[in-house]
Subunit: 206 residues, 2 copies
């Protein structure tokens, strides 16, 4: 039983790695099984379809992402400084991934959304759920930053949505140009969206 | 000759339509030929590979996009009002496409970037070129809006880049949720990025 359950996890880990790098359509079940060291016949013991494996990949990605989000947002410091930490961490994480991947692979959620939204409703739906949770977390921290007076008053929900769009858009551009430095602008644009005066802020790129 | 050249154009038109809806990997050469009414044997007379057809699709998309951009940005009105017109047009175009597509299909450039950037360098490169041109056009109009005093002073290049990221991010979110109303927020977030006071601005969603 231990080995069986382990094989399912290995399939998720392999799928996450291969799909993150090359997209969903580009990765076949046979290759996934070989990469995970799992017999092809066993695949359908764990997952009814490749789509179902993709859902498990989104869940695993979100679980890790949420843990990092909590570390950044729920730590010490003022609300705005915690949001800035999250934005800086996002850039640093993508930058350090270059050494492993050799290129900008983007955000798994954004990649799957644009690749599969029009063809695989259940994957689109799961990605949308993760985006909803990220937007909600951003809304909370923005609300706190508004309450503390660091960010001008406004609608925290709308600002959380704007931040989410900007984060995904910056990562998309970085991937389109295969240039991670694009993400170095994440904090500056995010603070502009929130209406924070940046004359006294130091840019990540300086 | 007329018919031959027409067949090449039909292949580009079909590819643009099918790839926009379902992605690049999901559309095969046989299906493209059937859709375009072109014999499969003729495909390689026009394009050395499916990748080369994808480049022609990006070029055709950008040609149309640039014409719309010029219509919006180069028309009458103040620089800021022309930028707003472009943002509003972007939303309305995606909204009216729903009637044809039945879902939010997103931006072809963003879709191809996230699907192919890590696997097909020449498509990534062509998409990056189009994004560079869009960013440059946004930089020009933002620079004019800064000169006219409608937008606070700043670096027009960086603001153009931020706008481009935000536009792509908003469209990505709309596709992930299959909800075009997300794009209704385009103008509001864009003006926030530029630091424009929106107390007297009417939101598109109101």
């Amino acid at each position: 039983m231990g080995r069986t359950s382990d094989a399912g996890e290995r399939l998720v880990t392999s799928a996450r790695q291969l799909i993150s790098m090359r997209g969903y359509q580009n990765v076949g079940v046979s290759e996934l099984c070989t990469h995970a060291g799992v017999k092809k016949g066993s695949f359908y013991y764990f997952f009814r379809s490749k789509e179902e494996l993709a859902l498990a990949v989104v869940d695993a990605f979100w679980q890790d992402y949420e843990a990092r989000l909590d570390d950044s947002l729920a730590g010490s410091g003022s609300p705005l400084s915690r949001l800035e930490r999250f934005l800086d961490d996002t850039y640093l994480r993508h930058r350090s991934a270059i050494a492993v991947d050799g290129c900008v692979r983007g955000c798994l959620l954004g990649n799957l959304a644009l690749e599969l939204a029009t063809t695989t409703e259940m994957v689109r739906d799961r990605v949308a759920l993760a985006f909803g949770r990220l937007s909600a977390a951003l809304e909370v921290i923005v609300g706190e930053a508004m309450a503390s007076g660091e960010v001008p008053e406004g609608d925290p929900h709308l600002k959380g949505e704007e931040l989410l769009a900007y984060i995904e858009g910056i990562i998309l551009l970085a991937k389109a140009r295969n240039n991670v430095d694009v993400i170095a602008h994440l904090r500056r644009g995010a603070l502009a969206l929130l209406g924070v005066d940046q004359k006294n802020e130091r840019s990540q790129t300086e």
